[in-house]
């Protein structure tokens, strides 16, 4: 019993160490990867542009739900005019970065992990190493950078569409005054709040992309191993995102 616990603890610590060393190896290849903007652009396309539709649809509906729920709740206090500021702050500081990161892990993270995992399973990574081509430079680093660039942008798009959704329900349907809606929002949202959302987006981008490329790279070279790596990517990304979210909020509030 004691030995299994010790083993689990050691495994967990070793896992963090492996991820940290993996990140260092990526950082080592960053300068040479940045010299290949086309490689990075195609990865931004994979991670970002292809996630755009799901991010926009989810942003719209999260905003619309926020409009309905926020209105219903605020109406009980007779202060439905605060809908704009309540919904905008919720979206900018919490919902936007977190939901965008979870969607990103599900859409782009799994794609990254299974792609690299399949490269491993089909010996493409080994072939690269034999040809003295560092797979970190050509495969891992560009995908990591693509994810890191894409998620903050996706977060901002999510928030903007979400506020449009709140406005759609709150102003167009439930009849909150348009001027009150925007002026209350503008009165309470500071530029620092938007920056906090942006910082969260960047941190989650690093975390989710790192987990995806790490799980893919270290996947067992079998069909089962790739499947397991994909699952672990989503689960670990979600858990780490929420833990980091608490930490950033506690520090920055």
């Amino acid at each position: 019993m004691y030995n299994t616990f010790k083993q689990m603890l050691l495994d967990a610590v070793a896992g963090f160490g492996a991820v940290a060393l993996f990140l260092l190896r990526i950082f080592g290849q960053l300068p040479s990867a940045l010299l290949r903007p086309r490689l990075i652009a195609s990865q931004i396309h994979n991670a970002g542009a292809l996630s755009l539709v799901i991010i926009m649809i989810c942003g719209l509906f999260v905003g619309m739900v926020l409009g309905l729920q926020g209105y219903d709740m605020l109406e009980r206090f007779g202060s439905e005019s605060a809908l704009g500021s309540a919904a905008a702050l919720a979206l900018v500081k919490e919902l936007g970065p977190v939901v965008a990161a979870l969607l990103f892990a599900g859409r782009a993270g799994t794609a990254l992990a299974s792609e690299i995992g399949l490269m491993r399973a089909t010996d493409q990574l080994v072939a690269m190493e034999i040809m003295a081509v560092d797979p970190f430079r050509y495969v891992v680093a560009p995908r990591f950078i693509g994810g890191v660039v894409a998620l903050p942008l996706l977060t901002m798009i999510f928030i903007a569409i979400g506020i449009f959704g709140v406005q759609l329900i709150g102003v167009q349907q439930l009849g909150v005054d348009q001027g009150t809606f925007w002026s209350q929002m503008r009165g309470s949202v500071e530029v620092e709040d938007v920056m906090q959302g942006l910082i969260k987006g960047c941190v989650f981008g690093v975390a989710c992309s790192l987990i995806a490329v790490y799980e893919g790279y270290t996947a067992a070279p079998t069909a089962e191993g790739v499947g397991r790596a994909t699952t672990r990517t989503v689960v670990n990304s979600a858990v780490i995102t929420l833990i980091l979210d608490y930490m950033i909020t506690a520090v920055m509030l």
Binding site: I44, H45, G48, Y138, I159, I163, G179, T180, R186
Partner: protein, 161 residues
């Protein structure tokens, strides 16, 4: 690793879209001007002792109907008063020039707005017109102070009698 022209265009559009969203968030939902009501209509001025938490963009209503928006709020150092500029929709061009403007609160915790009550004059407001009769925002602390003073006054009266 083929990166075709279409991929580049889509990626560029995505990046530009992301930055446009960031720009929108920074400029439009934080404290910054947004041209509500545009140039349609005319401007009136009202000087208040205290505007409370009135904000730019707040509605101006007559009998509960929104007729305009607060365009700007500034402070006049000569008058020691807050100067509120109001943009009235050009549809509502027959507001008597002895109408009064008062700052009211929507609901218990709601946002503040300007309520205009029509006067009886047969002259109407023109662009740049000024409200003569104004009523300031209700400051809760002042109200409580007055109330407390009133109670204290009553007490001394009754003991005096």
């Amino acid at each position: 690793m083929q990166s075709s022209r279409a991929t580049e265009v889509v990626t560029g559009a995505f990046v530009l879209f992301g930055f446009a969203a960031l720009f929108f968030l920074v400029t439009q939902i934080t404290n910054k001007e947004l041209g509500i009501g545009s140039n349609d209509g005319y401007t009136l001025v009202a000087n208040f002792e205290n505007v409370g938490s009135l904000k730019v963009g707040a509605p101006v209503s007559m009998s509960g109907v929104t007729v305009g928006r607060v365009e700007s709020i500034s402070y006049d150092q000569d008058l020691y008063k807050a100067v509120v500029r109001i943009r009235i929709n050009s549809k509502f061009n027959r507001i008597p020039n002895d109408s009064d403007a008062s700052i009211m609160t929507a609901g218990l915790l709601g946002g503040q707005y300007i309520g205009v009550t029509a006067g009886g004059a047969d002259q109407f407001f023109k662009d740049g017109g000024q409200f003569v009769i104004v009523q300031d925002a209700l400051v809760l602390e002042n109200l409580i102070n007055k109330l407390a003073a009133g109670f204290a006054g009553n007490k001394t009266d009754s003991t005096g009698d």
